[in-house]
Symmetry: C2
Subunit: 135 residues, 2 copies
DNA sequence: TATTTGTACTTGCATTTTGCAACAACAAAT
DNA sequence: ATTTGTTGTTGCAAAATGCAAGTACAAATA
């Protein structure tokens, strides 16, 4: 890890995930069931290959993601959330809520609607789901 | 604003505040009562002057902060949160909680303890407080 | 067996952002 | 008249990002 700018917990969090890409990878794993390099590459935002490699390495190094060889295909890797990674879920949910509220071109889909109606319930349910997937 | 990478609300949020500095400025205004360029400069993370100027301009442009001439001193500016800026509070709280949970050198202070005990209450109370300060 | 496809990268280079240090404009205070 | 405080600007170096092409190697296909 880079050296920290301060001991403020917000600053510490941003030291790790304060960029335009890391949380999109987390989103893909957490909410879209994506698990591999090639799936992340396909996301509509269009991350570059070198950035993706670099971010995956950082996220693994920070114990946010875990990398394992795919059982079905030895030349494939599978990325999963750790508990630390899963604990970013509320951050993701809040970013989604704020983004949907202030961007006209971001229509709320099922999850967005549910968040607007009862955010706490969404967080509770997702927390349960993720707990069973965590590595 | 830059052009958006996608219509995903998370991606849209990160387009605006997905960097290492913006949310620290918001933190200073939201939680530390800071209101001016020179106060932001003093924060322990040590933001550079050109970055600070650039971020303040973006945050103002995005209607997250409002800049006004200080009543007491015409050569001073005062930055305040808009409702859109204040609505970032839950994001900040979640980042604080996550950062405190996973960084040993980030001891929870009063607010951190309160968040750990009853996050929803903190969000509710802060939301009330901020509503009275919003420009 | 030879070739193609899929998957996960690496490399090189241009562009953009960040970091650092010094300097500038201007009002208020001394 | 000079100093201090406040909000910047400028120049340059370093780091991060973006883009395009190439590589390594296992699995699938012909």
């Amino acid at each position: 890890m880079d050296k920290k700018r301060s001991d403020c917990p917000i600053s510490c969090s941003l030291d790790v995930i304060g960029d335009k890409w890391s949380l999109l990878i987390i989103r893909d794993v957490m909410l879209r069931g994506k698990m591999s390099y090639s799936e992340f590459l396909k996301s509509e935002e269009g991350i570059a290959t070198n950035i993706l490699v670099s971010r995956l390495a950082i996220l693994e190094d920070e114990d946010i993601l875990v990398r394992e060889v795919a059982p079905a295909n030895k030349s494939k890797y599978i990325y999963s959330l750790t508990q630390k990674g899963a604990d970013l879920m509320p951050v993701i949910i809040e970013l989604m809520d704020w983004g949907a509220k202030y961007n006209k071109n971001c229509p709320r889909k099922e999850l967005g609607q549910k968040i607007k109606k009862d955010k706490a319930a969404v967080v509770r349910e997702l927390s349960k789901v993720l707990k069973n997937k965590v590595k």
